[in-house]
Amino acid sequence: MSLEWIIQMIINNWPMFLRGAGMTLLISVIGTIIGAIIGLLAGVIRTIPVPERRAKRILLKTVNVILTSYIEFFRGTPMIVQAMVIFYGSALAFGIDMDRTIAAIVIVSINTGAYMAEFVRGGVMSIDKGQFEAAHAVGMNHVQTMLNVVLPQVIRNILPATGNQFIINIKDTSVLNVIGVTELYFQTKTVAGISFKYFEPFFVACILYFVMTFTVTLILRYFERKLEGPENYSMIGQPAQITNVANTKES
């Protein structure tokens, strides 16, 4: 592996690397965000307690079966095959002509959603039952409880898992070159193919991947600390003087 060669290669090919990295980032950022939303939604639905009424119970059961099938199906099959089926299959069977980039984002989103749904389930499991009860006791329904009390706590706990998923997405976009999306990995392979070198182009790609993933890690760490809230609280007003109920009533 020679350094001059690498520098020369970068000089010659940097637009290819950069555009590839840009496409990778675009697909993985949007895919992760949409996927996270899907995962949270699935988490909310899958934790709905069994309703009393029969009609509702059957409806919920049906939705749950659909959700579980969705999760198991997309987790359970390779994304490359999904990509081929969705992109080429939809054209074959229905003559639908999808934009490659949109197809890529859709595929990454629904895959991420399936994985995130499981993270959310684990996260909800780890929340103290008292938090649910307190929310129910003030009259919140399931959705309100999840949105206002449970999920904000879950999100913080699953941020590391989300980071993992984001990083996996950055790397997994590479399989999307079967539908002709020219992201970083495909571009690197191209450079490797035409330069008859392997380690050098992939070395550069690794650095680009690493810069992207590490940036993501740092951003998520920052959010983690933010969500933690301030370590100390500041007191308001004058030194403690327990208010008399009587006084309060007057005011």
Partner: protein, 263 residues
Amino acid sequence: ACGTKESGSTTSSEGEGEQKEVLRVGMEAGYPPFNWTQLDDANGGVKIEGNAEYAGGYDVEIAKKIAEGLGKELVIVKTEWDGLVPSLQSGKIDVITAGMSPTEERKESIDFSDNYYTSNFVMIVKKGSKYENATSIQDFSGAKITGQLNTSHYGVIDQIEGVNKQPASDNFPAMRVALESGVIDGYVSERPEGISASSANPNFVMVEFTEGFVADEEETAVAAGLKKDSELVDKINEILADISEEERQNIMDAAIKNQPAAE
């Protein structure tokens, strides 16, 4: 974020692509000298759809001639090898020119034009190795040999008696690394790739055989892939017939000279 819009607008007319005077040709754009990716339109490079780069190489030159003969505008679609056939079948592209051999099995799924290049099998080995001066494939008895997955390169290895056949590799760069690292002793390839590889990497030597692999012509030939029962077959064959053997050799020589790594 590059090229999203372009890709959207050019593919929007898919389905009635023929009327729009566009010929969509699929290739990996990463298999020199047949096809590669370059940054500008030097040496007759053609813009890649939905992308800022250009494709060049022998396949591109042939595709240009086909497009010209059909009176259509050439659009190159860069797709992974495994995506080429589904792409063709689903109508995302009209033609494959990707150094693809018209084997019997492939013919079950897609149609092929007449051959537009014929080469022969060679072996790529490391310079200075004991195989450097081999003349017969049987000299590779006991050697660790591999070839590209899903190609006839891999299949013909069995003709070497006592060969230590290694698992196939799904791309050339990986095989080159394997060779360079000494994990394998050689890989089967075709002459053009062999010339490119050995000229690009001084550690590699291409071995040409006097007693070579026995193969049907279809296994070393290269033809354009077309959708089954495509009406383009006859027209393309006519166009290809107009390219003389000499001209083909000239185009290939130019491609080998122009390929990015050869500079």
